[in-house]
């Protein structure tokens, strides 16, 4: 059991996401950085897709009310357990009464915006429509379909489970699989249906601009700003159609919006491209005020990128399996 001590603005319970609900207008939700979620779970010996707490605003503090193993992945936020510093992207055992504190994300070798607090067995909330992710619009899933508040108590599914390892960490994937274009963080994009409807100058600008992640960016969508505004060659009349996280819409302002995990599952704006599924975790960790570039990818490259992520997780799991009976307290 853990008790939330902070006001916890915008922190939500998320797992890999909800599938199969599009027929009812239910989108994916799920972790903005599914790789950090999966790695935290691997460190604890959980199912990769077990639910965790996604923390986008800091500081964030919780108290363990029972002995429980945990891991903190995602942003390096100077995590401490009863004031003793923890290694980022590592698992530890907490004793009942200990307080886990996450501070502001540090500007280190890899900048990230969100941290994940994973618990032994995963966060134990009821699964709704097959997932424990929080569906904010409609208020279901996660903890009562809402963001966490001070005083909330969350259960771990297996707090008493014997841990094979503690104090063991993983080198973050952001360092192992970096992606940059011209010194700027980058994500790969497949052109979408309306790509050809943009002027040649706009298409060039789309790939060249260092798009800034504006403060109006969140789980619903990342509003980007850059010059020049993207222009279509003719007025585009769009019918409502299904979309997925990663779709880059261009509203009349010409400033693109990347649909993220809580986006509506359908839209009516023109789409210039889609961030590939394998790079959504990179964008999900891009801090407000940071810049990102788009790299044009082919279908084959996008599929290979998914294979690369799968291979990274499999290798991490294999090497972690060799780290048993290593116990290092915080």
């Amino acid at each position: 059991m853990i008790e939330i001590l902070s006001n916890a603005a915008l922190a939500t319970v998320q797992d890999r996401g909800r599938e199969g609900g599009l027929r009812w207008g239910v989108g994916n939700s799920g972790a903005m950085d599914p790789l950090a979620l999966a790695t935290g779970n691997l460190l604890l010996g959980n199912d990769e897709s077990a639910a965790a707490i996604e923390v986008p605003v800091f500081p964030f503090r919780v108290r363990f009310t029972v002995d429980c193993a945990f891991a903190v992945t995602g942003a390096d936020c100077g995590a401490t357990l009863d004031e003793r510093p923890l290694m980022p992207w590592a698992c530890y055992e907490a004793r009942a009464g200990q307080v886990l504190s996450l501070g502001l994300p540090r500007a280190g070798a890899w900048r990230a915006a969100r941290a994940y607090v994973c618990l032994a067995g995963g966060v134990d909330v009821p699964a709704v429509l097959g997932s424990r992710s929080t569906q904010l619009r409609g208020a279901f899933g996660g903890l009562e379909g809402r963001a966490l508040r001070k005083g909330d108590v969350l259960r771990a599914a297996a707090p008493g489970r014997a841990m094979r390892r503690s104090g063991v960490g993983v080198v973050p994937p952001g360092l192992q699989m970096p992606l940059e274009a011209g010194g700027c963080a980058a994500v790969r994009v497949l052109p979408a249906a309306e790509y050809e409807c943009y002027t040649a100058a706009s298409r060039t600008a789309f790939w060249r601009t260092e798009w800034k992640v504006t403060p109006q960016s969140d789980r619903y969508g990342y509003r980007l700003s850059g010059e020049p505004a993207l222009q279509s060659t003719a007025a585009l009349e769009m019918r409502s159609h299904g979309i997925v996280p990663g779709v880059i819409q261009v509203p009349p302002s010409g400033q693109p919006i990347v649909q993220m995990r809580d986006a509506q599952p359908s839209g009516g704006y023109p789409k210039i491209g889609t961030v590939i599924e394998a790079d959504l975790w990179r964008l999900g960790q891009a801090p407000i005020g940071s810049r990102v570039r788009f790299i044009e990818a082919t279908w084959d490259e996008a599929v290979s990128a998914l294979d690369e992520l799968r291979a990274w997780l499999d290798e991490t799991r294999s090497v972690l399996d060799l780290c048993h009976d290593i116990r290092h307290a915080a």
């Binding site: 390096d76 290694m87 540090r106 070798a109 993983v170 080198v171 991490t316 780290c323």
Partner: protein, 136 residues
């Protein structure tokens, strides 16, 4: 597990590696093994040596590697080293990290003390039991 059995187990393990020296310290016990031309042998008195913790120890405690790996002075995400020479540390505090593939395991201070010397360079590969840090 009694000492003769522990000795046999460690000897056969040691013989299969290319590690030449193994020192195993426990509460009140110390076992030293050396692998030489004639095989693995015990070093120092036949009777197990009782070591009084901290009692008039003039020489520093050597913190040894808990595993095979590549030594890291700092976590890859951070700039500051985990421990610097002259720094006071507490029991259990991580001093350096050992990396295998993507995993990182700390070598921790066995007691409170001051870091006298970090013996191994950043990026060097070490074996199990290799001296890493000298602690005063």
């Amino acid at each position: 597990m009694d000492m003769p059995e522990r000795f046999r187990e460690l000897s056969s393990w040691l013989a299969a590696t290319d590690i030449a020296w193994l020192e195993l310290k426990g509460p009140g016990t110390l076992l030293r093994l050396r692998r030489g031309a004639k095989g693995v042998e015990r070093v120092a008195p036949a009777a197990d040596t009782v070591v009084a913790p901290g009692a008039g120890v003039a020489e520093p405690t050597v913190v040894r590697s808990p595993r095979v790996g590549v030594l890291r002075h700092r976590h890859p995400l951070q700039e500051a080293p985990l421990a610097a020479e002259g720094q006071s540390v507490v029991a259990g505090q991580a001093l350096v990290l050992l990396q295998i593939g993507p995993t990182l395991v700390p070598a921790a201070a066995p007691r409170d003390g001051v870091v006298a010397r970090i013996v191994v360079h950043d990026g060097e590969a070490v074996g199990y039991g290799h001296p890493l840090v000298e602690l005063l």
